[in-house]
Symmetry: C2
Subunit: 479 residues, 2 copies
């Protein structure tokens, strides 16, 4: 493998190796001792905390309340919803012994919490006045992974899971789309990922859902990554757990429920949407550090060190997350490379000559402008604008990349060609057999039926039968 000086395989050479090496090398994550587990290191966890704070605020602003439900679920609970248990059984971790004894009934480590929350909802809801019940939980979940990949597929991951109960289908479907809209906004406006929102085809639905909606991002290798899902569960879980309410007329009805989740997978999505051969590129709105200040001293140049500290304080006062890299044992060049690898949007270099000129050298993580000398005094004022521009630049670049790698495919050769490097929008018959046929030939599957797609009918791009869904389906290879 060709590697640059940083010891990470070039993205252009081997995307998978680049990703696997980069997330570890950049200090985002490390492998845990148990198979498929990950340790989220402080630099990665800061990114998660930023995302969490932003997402949590939006969830609360739309009337949801946080709660916490148990990790361990009696195995029999999962069996109450037939499709649900069928979908999750192969991925379950099971506690059979506790307190030094074999348990009478094994406990499942939650892979998701519909069942245990359903059980509690049935207890809490009696009247139409208790509805809607809008809950959210921040938690860890465990799903056994045979081919783990840091952030993308790990045995344990962190997420939020919204769970809501409603009086009727219309209200529950409104909620499903509300959550999807929040995810789309968070992905686009914070992570700078121009996701496509759409509905999953029946074969790709969440186990137990009536409808599953998704946001799909395009990674820089052209593959799709599902970055958040929102499910309308109908009355499936309400029937399985007895979630009923008495309506205004006194009649007892089943609740319509929803669930929706976004996970630490987003960290991987950000790495694969914006990163390049030099390393990570973090969108300023989520970056742990938006600016790194590197003082250029030969040890003990207190004037430069003090000026760097002072600059950082003034940037922080202006709301800019700033880190000073004052490690004495490392050269400025080493630090530049390291912070490029770690994706900090803006670097400020400050040496004795800069200080004399009352400027700092500003280098952006991306863009062809090279370094610029900027007056020290102006930095706190201009930096927020520079970061906003950088954020917009990332979104525009990712949108351009996505659009230039998405093809409307009317013929099978066009389709096969499109999904070898990106996505295809095509008409499809909607049968599982044809989906499987396409997958075996191209490794691409239906990602979603995009919400913004226009009405379209005609022959299936693969088998020629009449198209389903009333519009085109988005196909791609996926993580």
């Amino acid at each position: 493998m060709a590697r640059d000086g940083r010891g990470v395989t070039a993205q252009s050479e081997d995307f998978a190796a680049w990703y696997n090496e980069l997330v570890v090398k950049a200090g985002l994550v490390d492998r845990g001792p148990a198979k498929g587990t990950m340790v989220i290191r402080p630099y990665g966890y800061r990114l998660w905390e930023r995302l969490q704070a932003e997402l949590d605020r939006r969830i609360k602003d739309t009337g949801h309340e946080n709660a916490y439900f148990p990790l361990l679920i009696p195995e029999s609970h999962l069996h109450r919803e037939a499709e649900h248990v069928e979908g999750f059984s192969p991925e379950l971790a099971v506690v059979t012994h506790a307190g030094g004894k074999e348990l009478e009934e094994p406990l499942v480590v939650r892979p998701t919490s519909e069942t245990i929350i359903g059980e509690m909802m049935a207890k809490w809801i009696t009247s139409h006045r208790d509805l809607p019940l809008l809950l959210n939980q921040w938690a860890n979940v465990v799903r056994w992974e045979l081919r783990p990949r840091m952030f993308l597929r790990t045995t344990e991951f962190l997420w939020q899971e919204g769970h809501t109960a409603h009086a009727d289908e219309a209200d529950a479907r409104r909620e499903t789309m509300l959550a999807l809209g929040i995810y789309q906004e968070v992905a686009r406006d914070l992570a700078a990922i121009p996701v496509v929102a759409g509905e999953k085809t029946p074969g790709e639905r969440f186990a137990g859902a009536v409808s599953t909606f998704t946001i799909e991002g395009m990674m820089r290798d052209g593959r799709a990554l599902q970055a958040g899902t929102s499910h309308y569960l109908g009355v499936n879980f309400a029937k399985a757990f007895g979630i009923r309410y008495t309506g205004e007329t006194g009649r007892e009805e089943f609740c319509h429920t929803t669930s929706w989740g976004m996970t630490t997978r987003m960290i991987g999505a950000i790495a694969m949407t914006h990163g390049d051969d030099q390393g990570l590129v973090f969108p300023p709105r989520l970056a742990p550090y938006q600016v790194v200040v590197v003082p250029i001293t030969r040890g003990g140049d207190t004037a430069v060190e003090e000026a760097a500290g002072d600059l950082a304080r003034r940037l922080r006062a202006a709301g800019v997350r700033t880190h000073v890299d004052d490690r004495p044992q490392l050269s400025p060049g080493f630090k530049y490379h390291e912070w490029e690898l770690r994706g900090v949007p803006v670097r400020l270099e400050l040496g004795p000559r800069d200080l004399a000129a009352e400027t700092a050298m500003l280098a952006k993580r991306l863009g062809d402008e090279g370094k610029q000398a900027v007056p020290l005094d102006s930095l706190p004022e201009v930096m927020p604008g520079i970061l906003t521009e950088f954020q917009a630049f990332l979104l525009a670049r990712a949108t351009e990349f996505r659009d230039s790698h998405t093809v409307e495919a009317a013929t099978w050769p066009d389709f096969a060609d499109a999904v070898s490097t990106g996505w295809a929008r095509a008409l499809h018959c909607g049968t599982r057999a044809c989906e499987e046929d396409i997958k075996s030939l191209t490794a691409a599957g239906p990602r979603c039926v995009p919400l913004d797609g226009e009405a379209a009918h005609g022959p299936c791009v693969r088998c020629g039968a009449s198209s389903a869904y009333g519009k085109q389906v988005l196909f791609g290879r996926a993580y």
Copy 2:
């Protein structure tokens, strides 16, 4: 059992029943389906989020970084520190099957994370420049409980666990006391619990620690509750996991490590420190709602409803967490009782006559002042001061209660009498046999050797042998 109109046993009659019923009735918590597990409901979770935000800020301000380590730990890891595994083995929940197969090595659901973090520290630390390594994790842990009690002893609970590595004992001991100081401050200044900080006697140490420090609060039944612990682990875990660094002179040394934790148990501590026959009493700095506004209308009195909403907005703008209880189907009297039960510090009643007089009736959750008419316009300005006073009142009341239930006991009868209703400070020989003797006779054990105790020597209050520790020991029955 005598119950008041709210369906909760009186505190004065049966403290345990009062607590068990109240935390459920007040909507803080509910029982989970698996034995000993709890569901933290939104009202309880809001309190936890308040505590979490305050504690997290203090942890970060003192240089610690958050990270996340795996839930599942290979069983062999726990065996590497002999005392540690001996202490935790009886409480472990064990995953033996995953992904549809029996695992080659069982995985333990973390009861605490010293072992897995020790393993990672050994990987990350090589040089003295990597020290101190100051980490914190917010997580769930599982310890199998035979006699579960909501918040106090549950099979799963939430906590933060700090884990740090240092170059020498002095630095690690400084860290241990720093964490203890943060806990003492959070308990006192936020939860209004005047805890006693001290060192655990050897028999009460954390499994694997060299020294364990604790903060102990007195509940209103005179029992002690351990509300946070901080451990100096010496080089025990460093030796077990190989956490070594190369010093400035080039010599390889073992790190000295610490760990410290505070948990959702604090919610129970708050309930049992301040609650009374009427229900919970929340300290304003942690209360989910500091003020509840109850509009008194006979449905459709829009002037009153609007004024209530307007008042709430102005209180919120003044930084006061305010809730308007505008449920149409419930009487004002029902609401007053409910919010007393739920511990809201201040209630504002607003009816048509109040509105005409441009006042609201203000009722505090505790105190003998009765209701007062307060000009609506002045409320946003005066409320922060009222809440500050209420917070100080709770701390003063709890301090007075603690001090009036703590006795310096020089004789065995005085000692036995003291620990039947509260705490005793007494000289003790320090032997395990004598500790056990005291426990079997009085159900009281050594809570800690208070840090603020004065030097004292003499005969053991129980056996007459020479006292240990150089000062008095605090004894009490405990949760």
